[in-house]
Point group: C2
Chain length 277, copies 2
DNA sequence: AGCGGTATGTGATTTGAATCACATAAGCGG
DNA sequence: CCGCTTATGTGATTCAAATCACATACCGCT
C-alpha cells in the first residue's frame, strides 16, 4: 500500500503506530529536514534519547560532542539535561544569553522575527548542534528564537560553566570555533541566497539544492525529506506562501523535481541551478 | 609566499601621501565606512602602519590582537607582514583557504559575487579584523573575496601555524571564537535585513542605521563617513543603484538625513527605524 | 579649458511577485 | 461520521522596484 519512500517504520518491532502512506505522519513526528548525515530515517527512529554524554550514540557523528575521553568526562559533568515538549521555547530573541544549549535528541527550529511579524527560519537544529553559542561568546542577547519542533532532549549549560570548560580544554575551544564557523557559513549562504538570487524562483531553487546536497551526501539520487509547510518554506526562501505553492507545482510540471508525500527528489539539478543565476 | 600577485612595497619607504580636506580625498584614500571607533578621520590619517604586533597602536582597540604579553610575543613571531596595493586581492572566493589574514592598516572590502555578476558587499574590514578564519577552521574554500581598498598592511599567517598558535594559547582560541561570533552576528544581521525588511526603503534605512550606530558609538549625533558609491550601497542593501539615489534624496527631502560631501548625519533615526518594519 | 570617464538624477515603462479572495483538500478530535 | 482547523491550489488585482533611456554633474588629467 505504500510505494511511498517517506514512510517511517520500525524495522524491528513495528513500534511506530504511524503506519501510513502519506506525509501527515512525517509531519507529526516532526521529521523535518533530515539532519542525519549518513543514516536512514528508519534507523533514526530506532534510537533512544541518550542518558549521558559518555554513551551518546550521536557523539561520533557530531562535531562538538566528539571530544577526547578526559574532556568528555568533564563535559558530561557540567550542565543539566532537560526534556522539552513540542512547542517549548528554549530561548527567545532578545533574551539575555545565560546558557548554551546542545541538542541531544529531537529537532529544534531556529528562527528570527521582525517587529511586524515576519519570520525567517534559519535552520532546523538536530542532535549534536550547539545553540546560543554566538550570543554567549559575543556577550549579547540571543539573536534568534529556539523552539522544539517535537519532544526533545537538550543539555543546558550555564554560560560561565561553559566558558570555563572551554578554558580547561583547548580542543573543545577548537570545536566551538569550528561549530561557529559552520553557523557562520550557513548564515552566509542564507544571506547570499537572499541577496543575490534576484527572483523568488532562484531563491527557492537554491534552497532545495542546498537541502538536497546536505541530505543526500554523495549519492547521485538527490532526495530528501521535506516536511515543512509551504508557509515555512516561504519563510526560509524569503517569499510568500502562494509563490512557493505555484513554483513547486511548476517545477513539478517541468519534471525538474518529483514529490511523493514528504519526500522530494531533484531530477534535474542543473535546471534548478540555472534559475539560481 | 605571495598568494596572488600582490605588490609588496617597502613599509619603511614612502608612507601614505594622502593629505586632504574634502570628500573627494576621502574616496580616493578609501576611507569607507569608518571602522575606527572613537577616532576622527583626521586622527586616523596621522597614524602609521604598525611595524610589529608588540607596538601596534590598534591593539588595544581591537579584539583579537589584544592578547597577554606571552601570547602576543608568540603571535608576533608567526606569519608574514605584507603590504598590498589598492585593488590587490588578498584572496578570492573559491580559493583554497591556506592562510588567515589580519588587517594591520588600511581597509579591505569583503564581498561575494554570484555567477551572473551581482555582488554582495559584506563588510569593510579595518585594522584588527581577522579575515579567512571561518574558511580555515571549517576547512572549506574561501567563501568571500578580500580586496584592498587602499594601500594596506596585512599580516598573513599560514593555516597550520595559526591553528598551532591557537592550540598553544587558550585565550587566543577564545578570541578567535569571539571574532567568529562577531562575524556571524554581522552576517546574521545582513541576512535578516535582506529577508525581513520587505521594502527597498526598509533595507536601506536599516543599513544606514547600522552604519550610524557602529560609527558614532554612544554620541547623540549619528554621523558617519559614507564614501561608497550609490552602486556599492545598492549592493549592500540588495537593491538597484537608481533606487538608492531616489531613496537617499527622498530621505534628505524629508529631513531625515543630511549629506555633506562624504559625511552623512542621521537626523531622525526613529523615522528611518519605522521604515524598517 | 576641454575631454573622457565615472557617478548621480529623473522620467517612463515593464514586470515579478505580494496581496487579496476564495475554493478545495486533508488532518484531528470528538 | 462530522465539523473545525490548518494546508494547499489558483485566479485576479495591485504595486514596488527593476529596468531602460537618457540628462547632468563632477573628477582628474593633459
Amino acid at each position: 500500500m505504500r510505494e511511498d519512500g517517506a514512510v517511517v517504520e520500525d524495522p524491528e518491532a513495528g513500534a511506530l503506530e504511524v503506519v501510513e502512506t502519506d506525509e501527515s505522519s512525517a509531519r507529526r513526528s516532526g521529521l523535518y529536514l533530515s539532519q542525519s548525515r549518513g543514516r536512514t530515517m528508519a534507523e533514526f527512529h530506532t534510537h533512544h534519547p541518550p542518558e549521558d554524554c559518555l554513551n551518546c550514540e550521536h557523539r561520533h557523528l557530531r562535531m562538538f560532542c566528539n571530544l577526547t575521553p578526559e574532556a568528555l568526562r568533564d563535559f558530561d559533568a557540567i550542565g543539566i539535561m532537560m526534556n522539552h515538549a513540542r512547542g517549548a521555547k528554549l530561548f527567545s530573541e532578545g533574551d539575555v544569553a545565560r546558557n548554551v544549549f546542545i541538542v541531544c535528541f529531537g529537532q529544534v527550529k531556529i528562527s528570527s522575527t521582525s517587529r511586524d511579524g515576519k519570520t525567517m527560519i534559519l535552520k532546523i537544529a538536530g542532535p549534536g548542534d550547539l545553540m546560543g553559542l554566538s550570543a554567549v561568546l559575543a556577550n549579547v542577547p540571543h539573536e534568534v528564537t529556539a523552539e522544539a519542533l517535537e519532544p526533545c532532549q537538550v543539555k543546558t549549560i550555564r554560560k560561565q560553566e561553559f566558558v570555563d570548560f572551554l578554558g580547561r580544554h583547548g580542543i573543545a575551544s577548537m570545536h566551538a570555533a569550528q561549530a561557529l564557523s559552520g553557523e557562520y557559513l550557513t548564515v552566509f549562504h542564507d544571506a547570499k541566497r537572499l541577496a543575490l538570487s534576484g527572483s523568488a524562483a532562484g531563491r527557492l531553487a537554491r534552497l532545495l539544492l542546498d537541502w538536497g546536497r546536505s541530505a543526500s551526501n554523495g549519492k547521485p539520487e538527490i532526495r530528501f525529506t521535506m516536511a515543512l509547510t509551504h508557509e515555512e518554506i516561504a519563510n526560509m526562501a524569503g517569499t510568500s506562501r502562494e509563490t512557493v505553492t505555484r513554483l513547486l507545482n511548476q517545477f513539478r510540471r517541468d519534471q525538474w523535481i518529483t514529490i511523493k508525500g514528504a519526500s522530494m527528489t531533484i531530477v534535474k539539478p542543473d535546471q534548478l541551478e540555472r534559475l539560481t543565476a
